[in-house]
Structures are given as C-alpha cells and as structure tokens.
Symmetry: C2
Subunit: 344 residues, 2 copies
C-alpha cells in the first residue's frame, strides 16, 4: 500500500489523538481570546490550509458569531502595506509552517500588538515560533505531496477552537463522534474505486457544495487537480447559479457534495437543475431519500452538518486517489509539485 492511501486511512486515528491531546491547550488559547476584545478574525493560509480557513469562516461565523476575513498575503509581501489590525485575532494555518507569506501576516500582526494563533503540524516551524499561541495538529509527519490527514486535522483544530470559545459541552461530545464517522466513510473505498473507473476519461469537472461544506468542494477540487490533473473548479452552489452553470451541458461531470442539514434543499434543487441539463452527476451525501439517485456515494449519517466537512471530504480524497490510479498516474508523485511551496 502506498503512503498516500496509508495517510488517508490514518485520519480516524489522527483525529482521535487530536481530540485527546490538544483540547486542554486549545481551551487555554480560547481563554486568551475571550480575555481580549476580539471583534473579528483574520486568517492567513494557502492551498489546502486555505480550505480549512474557509471552514473556519463558516464555523466561527455561524457558531461563534465572529466575522472572519481571509488575509490577502500579497498585501504584506508584494505591496508591503499590511492592513492595520485593531480588535482582530490573527491566525495562520499551515501544515508545514514554512510558507513565508503566511509567516509575514502573523509576524506583522504580532508586531502590531494583535493576538496571534498558529495552527500547524510542525512545532519547530517559523510559523509556530512567530505566533503568540500555538495549536498543534499532531497528525504525524505527512510524507505525501497531497495533504489529506493534515487537512482533516486542521479542520478538527478549528472545530475544537470554536467549541472551546463557546464553552459548549454538548458540541464537544458531538466532536467525539467524528473519528468513527470518518472510519465509516473509509469503508466506501471499494465503491469509490468502481465509481472512479467511470470517470477515467474526465478532463474537467465542477465540484459544488454550500455552507460548511463549501470548504469540502474546494478541497476535493484541489485533490482532483493535484492527483489527476483534471481541471476541477469548485463553487458554492449560490455562486454556481450566478453564471458558471452556463458551462454545464449534456455529459458535463459535476461532483455535488450534499450534506444533511440546512444546505441540503438548495443543493438538491441544483441537482434537479443539473439532471434537467443531463449533466453527469456524482453525488456525495450523508442524507437519505435523495430521490432519483444519480451516481451516489452514500455516507452513513453520523454527524451534524457543522462536522460533516471532516467526513464528506474522505470519499472525495479516495475518489481523487482512485481516479489517478484509473488514469494510470502515480498519486505519490504529482508532476511539478513539492511538499512545501514557498510563495511570497
């Protein structure tokens, strides 16, 4: 078995470890945040970690009522005119903790006197050193170029922070159901492999979801690009309706991630619309009774919508992996990518 597949399968154990070993530290970070008058959060991240930041935008927004801005690192590195931080909490999220532009955002914020938090898998990284507070992902070394276990670990770190900020015991109990739900999603692998075969000739596709799982659409789209070189484009369903739906014609591949919960009606409405246009629809969902089913990866309904991004991304990771295999590509060595991308 190759490393990437091993890392995908390691996710339940990684999430369990994070729950057990990091929560008390995260409670202290949350305490420090509560003691400051924080009006909004600014989060800096790139690539996969930027999708964890997108999850944070929805989660901290909906459950902690904290507005979240995603930083534009080029304001720091290219234009050398960073925004003034007043009343802001500044977080950097980076698996490696080595991306210079992400480090710049956090360093500048700390110099301005803002409260800073790093979420990283690397305790010895520049990002870890430059931030006042540190949340560790505890995912173990990730050797594959394509990030998988560090992504779900970053989501879990964000979810733990949200729960700690709200001091919500009931939500904490819900969080503890996630590793088992991820384990259950992994059992779909054989089915995913068969579905991937069907999409072997795919050259481009749209990946669509909404709300908390907009992050999932972004991340599944990126895995598909990195591993299979298919030009995947990710959308929130609302943005998709504002123009890009025009690209859909008979046979156009669309991956729709449709979680149970508040976003479901909208996404099923879109599914109807896509069926009418005879799109080639692949549905990843933990909802039941989906009507006339297109190609469906049915995930067991075990977690609340706000936690489902950690679960629904898993069939997407497996899909990207097996699609690469079906295309005769080596998912271990995506062409032209390195593990650490040093953008400024």
């Amino acid at each position: 078995m190759d490393r990437l597949l091993a890392e995908i399968r390691e996710q339940p154990a990684v999430l369990q470890r994070l729950l057990e070993e990091e929560y008390s530290n995260i409670q202290q970070v949350a305490q420090a945040i509560r003691e400051r008058e924080v009006h909004y959060a600014l989060i800096a991240a790139r690539g996969t970690s930027d999708h964890a930041a997108t999850y944070a935008k929805y989660l901290l927004g909906a459950r902690n009522r904290l507005p979240v801005a995603l930083a534009a690192p080029s304001l720091y590195t290219l234009y050398e005119s960073p925004p003034r931080i007043r009343g802001g909490l500044v977080m950097g999220i980076s698996q490696s903790g080595m991306s210079p532009d992400i480090v710049s955002v956090v360093r500048d914020a700390r110099e301005q006197g803002a409260l800073t938090v790093a979420i990283t898998n690397n305790p010895d990284s520049r990002l870890a050193r430059v931030a006042e507070h540190l949340i560790l992902c505890r995912a173990g070394e990730e050797k594959s170029v394509a990030a998988t276990k560090t992504y779900t670990a970053e989501l879990m770190a964000v979810a733990l922070l949200s729960v700690a900020l709200a001091e919500d015991e009931k939500a904490l109990a819900q969080l503890h159901t996630v590793p088992e739900a991820v384990q259950s999603a992994l059992t779909l692998e054989e089915q995913v492999k068969g579905v991937a075969e069907l999409y072997r000739e795919m050259q481009y596709c749209a990946v669509v979801s909404r709300g908390y799982n907009y992050a999932t659409a972004l991340e599944v789209g990126l895995k598909v690009k990195e591993l299979t070189y298919v030009s995947a484009t990710s959308y929130s369903s609302a943005d998709f309706m504002h123009g890009p739906i025009a690209t859909v014609e008979e046979g156009s591949p669309v991956l729709l991630i449709a979680p149970r919960g508040k976003a479901l009606d909208d996404l099923l409405h879109l599914a109807e619309e896509l069926r009418a246009r005879r799109a080639n629809l692949l549905l990843i969902s933990d909802a039941r009774d989906l009507g006339r089913a297109p190609t469906l990866l049915q995930v067991s309904p075990r977690v609340e919508e706000w936690l489902s991004p950690m679960v629904l991304v898993v069939p997407g990771q497996l899909f990207a992996y097996h699609l690469a295999r079906a295309k005769g590509l080596d998912p271990q060595h995506p062409r032209g990518l390195r593990k650490v991308t040093e953008t400024r």
Copy 2:
C-alpha cells in the same frame, strides 16, 4: 452591433460620468466612515460584483490599511446566525440591488447598528433602500446578461471611495486618467478577435493573475464561462503554485494577466514555468519588454497598477465575446442564465 458589444464599448463614458457625478457624494460617505471607529470592512456580493469586492479587499487593504472580509451570505440565509458586527463597516455590492442574500447581510448589519453602504446601479432597489449610505454606479441600464460596464463602474466606485477615505488628491488625479486608458484598451478589439479564433476549440482553461488583478482573473474567468461555456478556473498565481499548476500540460490554455508593478516579477516567473511545460499561454499585459513573447495582447501602459484592473479586464471581456462568436454561440443569450439571480 449587438447590445453586449455596445455595453463593453460604453465603458469609458460610464467611468467618466461616474467620476464627474458621484465623487462629491462619495466624499460624504467617506466622511461618515471616518467619523465612526471602523476597524474592518465586511463586503457582501455575488458573481461579478464579488470580483469588485475582491478588488476592494486589495485596494482598501493596501491603500487604506483596512482589513476586508468577504461575507458568507449563507450565514444569514441558511444558518440564520449572522456574525456580530462591532467596529465594522458593512458594504453590499450588487448591480441590480435585488439579490435577497446580499440585502440580508446589509439589513442585518444596519439593525445591529453598523455603518452600512450600498454600491448599486439601481437606486430603486431593495439594497439601495436598506443601506444607510448609497453609492450609485450611474452605468445606465445594463441589458446584457453578462455584466461588463457595471463591473468597471463598481471598480471605479470602490476606487473613488478609497481615494476619498485617504483624501488623496494625487490619487484622484490618477483616477481621471482611467477612462482614456480604457478607451485605448478597446482599440485592441481587432487583434483580440484574431486571437479568439486561435482558441476556438478550447474546452477549459486557467486564468491567472495576482494582487489587485486577482479580481481581473476572476472576472475574465467568469465572462469566459458565461459567454463561451468553457470551464475556466481563476487563480492568484501564489495559489496556482500550491497545487493547480499540476494540471498544466503541453497545450493547456492559460490566460495570464500581468500588470506592470509589484506583481509583475511573480507573474513573469510563472510565465517562464508555463513555457517550460509548453502551455498554450495568452498574456494580457500593459508591461513592456516581456521577453520571448507568447500570444500577447499588449495594452498601452497608461495607469498605475492599482487602477489597472479597470483597464486589463477590457481585453478579457472582448476575448470572451469574440470567443463566443468564434464558437458560433450567441453572447447575447447565454444558456440558462437570467440577469438577476435570486439566491438566498
């Protein structure tokens, strides 16, 4: 001549009118903002207007040092748990002013006591009524489904607000050079038409820029999707390096928007990388001396980088228009789109 082309060509006049008729109002809005203790801005927008919001994120960040968050409207409409606004300026940008989710964000913010501003082309819209302050685009009715003149008008409105906030007379003078620069960009039309012919068989492409012109990459990508049904995906060059570049192989079409200024080095570095991969590179640039030139749409170097999004988008609009024509499509009636998309 059809309406869409007429509206594209109308842009210099629209921008000139906005400069002449709206600045004194915008100065009053800026005065109201300066009187409040504003720590950050939250902007709600969809589709094309969301790209104007992205421009605002860079412009207000770099030139006014104001952190900008782009709202997640589903927090209001789906999850019914809007973020708490303290110290925030909330802006809604919408051509029609009719999108219920954008109206929700602004209405909620005003109810919370935040300072609210609407940027819209429709003074009678719900958005115009619900916001405390109103900035009008004065673009005249836009009849085409694909937004063009209202997009550049929204950019100009944002730029005027930035200048008024900074009380920067020199910058105001620079703004007055934009209509002529846009007029000059329009003279490329015959050349664009020839280039579009070369891309007639294109099914997907990447559209890349960085910094202020990340907005241009997003908007050109959307025009290409709406008018030609090509699956275009837009990136900042930094994000592109973090994974999606793996999709580029020999012949892959990439549109690179490379403005003079701080982002240029990075973008030319990417151009080299893309040449090495034998991508099919189309460059839109107002820089000179671009080395071994691929297919190049050379825009006259007339404006500063922060204003170039209003200019460099024009060859992109024309490219999308003429690519649609080359493909035998009707740019006047994109399939499955309406002028006003009512997402909740």
